[in-house]
């Protein structure tokens, strides 16, 4: 989503990057994470989390698996947006900054896919 005015876009004024879209996405994912994170911790606290069977039964239910996949995906996206701002603020050298940003993105995408795949394996009953 672009919050830039059509005139500003045509004239090519201001930053050439997606600052407002980044800002907006950070907040939309924040709202989603208030709900998803609250759900996750509350559910975990109400469960016998020491029991593998209880965790699998919980994560295997249709609603929980969808919410867990959303939680992992949205958390990774929100973390990437937030870490990007921190890195851009404190890492001055351009080359290092790009390298760190790419490394963070790789790690978070790999982590998100691993987590989502784990939830799907539980949901579909694919046990190792």
């Amino acid at each position: 989503m672009s919050l830039r005015s059509p005139l500003g876009r045509v004239l090519g004024l201001g930053s050439a990057k997606g600052g407002s879209a980044h800002w907006y996405a950070q907040r939309v994912t924040a709202v989603a994470l208030v709900l998803l994170g609250g759900w996750f911790v509350a559910a975990l606290a109400s469960l016998d989390s020491g029991s593998h069977a209880a965790i699998v039964a919980w994560l295997g239910s249709p609603l929980s698996s969808v919410l867990a996949v959303l939680f992992v995906g949205v958390a990774a996206y929100h973390a990437n947006l937030g870490l990007q701002v921190v890195v851009e603020d404190y890492v001055a050298s351009h080359g290092t900054r790009v390298a760190v940003l790419v490394a963070i993105e790789f790690a978070l995408v790999a982590g998100a896919l691993t987590g989502i795949l784990a939830v799907l394996r539980i949901a579909f009953g694919v046990q190792a």
Partner: protein, 131 residues
Amino acid sequence: MAQPERPLSPFLHYRWQYTNTLSILHRITGVLLAGCFFLLVYWLAAAAAGPERYAGALRCLGSPLMQVVLCGGLASFCFHLLNGVRHLFFDLGRGFELATARRSGWAVAIGAIVLALLAWTILKSHLGGVA
């Protein structure tokens, strides 16, 4: 010729106070939570890998060092969640009055501690025999 008075960068003359403390804590806890994200992934992957791997993961997470990490992670989560909501209200242009911002700041700080202690006690009670 006398050197003209130049404006200083904010960090050179701003007094340390509750507002920037909460703000920098939001950033620090955010970075910590990004690290904790990988612990969540590890826990999910262990649950998907079967009962034995899950029990092994709980033993690993139950080690004294990991307990400190998890306790810090939970506290970070509670603070980042509550202060994040506070910032969302700021983004809507609300709560900027000094008295309101101070009250919401204290509410966030105390609320985060209470919430973290409560969640930690409950979560630990389930794991009493395991981790």
